[in-house]
Symmetry: C3
Subunit: 347 residues, 3 copies
């Protein structure tokens, strides 16, 4: 269980999270935890009715709960808050930032920055970074160690690049993004033309444009467009080891779980959810709010708002029914053989 | 729409691409685009009959088209060329190289190069590269920032390594290859021997040999052989996040799309096409020109020239038929229940 | 065929591997090879009866074989050893270490080490490494070029990090681990809370704890826990491009093949084997010694000791039966249509 260096009183936690603290003002807390693992110096939260028993037996010293549930947790220190989970996020975020504060502005002496790059004096560049000509790094951006920003790329205000991110030429990352280690933005799209027995490379003259508030997981890859731009909408969250092909356009606030792969030129709407290892063929459209189950293989357009699963992906309800019946194939087959047999013997 | 810095006249474009220019010699163009997005200063191309309507209504200022199609595009500036798509590649390639010329020869002062390495004076080494003893980097090679060439590795003439490529000891990359950021060449093959309750590591004494004109996508991994070599044939194109296990041998001009995984010791022929997320078990042979559909799982040898799909992968035609019939399982099951029922009631 | 620089006599090989050498003491050997590829200066091994013919016709100069098989290989130089494969591992390991000895202790002048980090004088730090405050690097550890150890991380005795490994704050790697290039340990878990139309980031305050004798393949990612720890047990072997979500717990000596993905909070037992591209949903338990076939999608708990396959994964035996019957669907469908037809015509 992680203990944070700065212990907080209930009143101080109320200031950070909002809500109303009820309990011993002298008591201090130094960690956040799940109900079952929490100890007396921990803060936990109770939101879902079904976890009531766990909440009641939890050793947590401070419980964040909705005001109308207070009576279910008698004799405890409580922070009454209409959205306990949200309060918990704020508290954990506060402690985390206190533990690992943003590095100070400035360029590490071991970074290599082209004189023709524009790096805000309020940005941070770590050691062994390379920032090439015509790059723009805006105020509050943090560029981790060993990152590489190629010519004419741009990192927006407040964005955080963990160590070892590669940004190819001409690509743009918006404001307040988080890009994890090993991410590659703007590598060449995978385009070849078969000519005289060889695969000729199609030059990839486009770029990648990542919106604001986007998070991109470790070692994910977003390829540059052949012409035009590959684009990721504001608020998208992309997990680790995801592949986004050239010319894809992802809408806003969509979620792509780990190891998802999108072939080229596919359009994904807003608030779409692609579960782990989903593959999507090229030149398709996935409608807003569509949800695609893990490992599905999408081979045609998916209408908005649906729930899809399977390879090829169809409505999840139908796919589940088919999955159940596949398990009955041995029964189906033996009954059919029996029917065929008696048909033969009793004409 | 990207505009290139150097605008080109139709005549100049003819010099670059070949073909015959017909139109206004004073007019200049500064970008390439798809038919639908093209603007008056753009060059587009028309090759496939089915796009005729798009071509006719395109705002592109210059259209590259085959000579026998010229009459379908009256009143336009045209570059008549027997292979319009190929001409377009040349033009886009010219502009891209003009925009991002190859970095000059020389070793960045922030690179670390072992005195016992042989780096051609005509090669480029970026900042924070490491080149260990006995490495060879040939003329015209470009080694991006933060690349690592371990002992006794070799990069052939004219090959381009984007930033953050890792080459393990004793591995070889041929001539005119393109290796994208985050690629790892020659990490240990995944071999263990279960002995006394633990997985003992099998030392991987082999290497990786990559041929000429190979492109390897971002964050892909090619493992070194246990003994001998893992080899990638000339002209192969490998997309992002691909895994190639130890001792695999890939023929020439094969294409491996994103997130493909090959287990150890598998042999892939020439001109093979593995679509995205395909998995191939170990010790198999995939024949020349075989095409394997996305997400397929190959569990046995695949003969040459076939089209395969599914897990386990079989002939695509059969797999498609099965997929259609799986969708009919509800109907099959209900009819069978009905037949069983009347069989019972009418003996 | 790789030849090692140091040739060894049979007697010297006996000292390295154990066993009993029988043959010409003046003869020297300089490589290891498979039976079929071996040449007269190579050492090969014979263990499995079914390879007898290959062994008899092999050109290998020295054969390692069990004492009771010696008579099957008359007139050859032999190293009699109860476990020939194991002897071979020792020999290959010896030669490999002779060829690429561990780099000497010391910190490269181009590394950046925080004064508040504790780096053992017996550890090696390569060029362009970054070691932040409160890190611990123990004796015998080797940290390759361009690695990044964030605040408060710890690398145990004798562990080897190849170039370009990223370790996020507060994470721990045990003793004698091998971590390949591009691995990212401790990136944020993928947790969001949907609130007012946006995906709010759940701060990931936990860490990653990797046990002893673990190997992690190139470009794999292990995410930090939301609270608590993501943990990898002693002796686990993880292949390339594997994704392990936040709060997963992997037991001891388990094997995760390439491109496996585990969603969050899944518990994997000891000696589990997950084949390539397997996906596992979140909050599941996979029992000890369970084996899951390639590309399977695990959607519910799997009991210990079983063999599982398919999506959703079920007992492999049943899944195989279903796969066979799926191939019979065309036959099933046509017979059923026939039965339905005669039913109609002969009431």
């Amino acid at each position: 269980m992680r203990r944070f260096g700065t212990a907080l009183s209930g009143k101080r936690i109320q200031e950070i999270c909002g809500g109303n603290f009820r309990g011993d003002e002298r008591r201090e807390f130094s960690c956040v935890a799940e109900l079952a693992q929490a100890q007396p110096d921990c803060v936990a939260f109770f939101e879902q009715e079904k976890l009531l028993e766990q909440a009641q037996s939890s050793a947590a010293g401070l419980m964040i709960c909705p005001p109308d549930k207070a009576e279910l947790l008698p004799g405890r220190d409580l922070l009454l808050h209409p959205k306990p989970g949200l309060a918990m996020l704020k508290l954990a975020g506060w402690w985390l930032q206190d533990l690992h504060p943003k590095p100070p502005a400035g360029i590490h002496p071991n970074a290599v920055v082209d004189p023709a790059a524009q790096v805000s004096p309020e940005a941070h560049l770590g050691p062994f970074c390379v920032v090439e000509a015509a790059c723009i790094v805006e105020a509050g951006a943090v560029i981790g160690a060993n990152c590489h920003l190629a010519q004419n790329s741009r990192i927006g205000k407040g964005s955080l690049l963990f160590p070892k991110v590669s940004v190819y030429p001409d690509c743009e990352i918006g404001e307040n993004c988080i890009v994890h280690s090993g991410v590659v933005i703007g590598a060449d799209g995978f385009g070849f033309r078969f000519e005289d027995g060889i695969q000729m490379k199609v030059p990839q003259v486009g770029n990648v444009i990542v919106g604001n508030d986007v998070e991109i997981g470790a070692n994910s890859c977003i390829d540059r467009a052949t012409f035009g731009s590959t684009s990721i909408g504001d608020g998208c969250k992309i997990d680790n080891l995801v592949q986004i092909g050239h010319n894809c356009r992802i809408g806003r606030h969509s979620i792509l779980c780990a190891q998802v792969g999108l072939a080229g030129s596919t359009v994904v709407g807003d608030y779409v959810y692609l579960a782990g290892q989903v593959g999507v063929a090229g030149h398709l459209t996935i409608g807003d709010r569509a949800v695609v189950g893990a490992q599905a293989g999408v081979t045609r357009d998916l209408p908005a708002d649906g729930l899809y699963w399977g390879t090829p992906a169809i409505e999840a309800k139908t796919q589940k029914q088919i999955t159940v019946l596949q398990r009955k194939l041995p029964e189906i087959y033996s009954q059919l053989r029996w029917l065929m047999k008696i048909k033969d013997t009793k004409p």
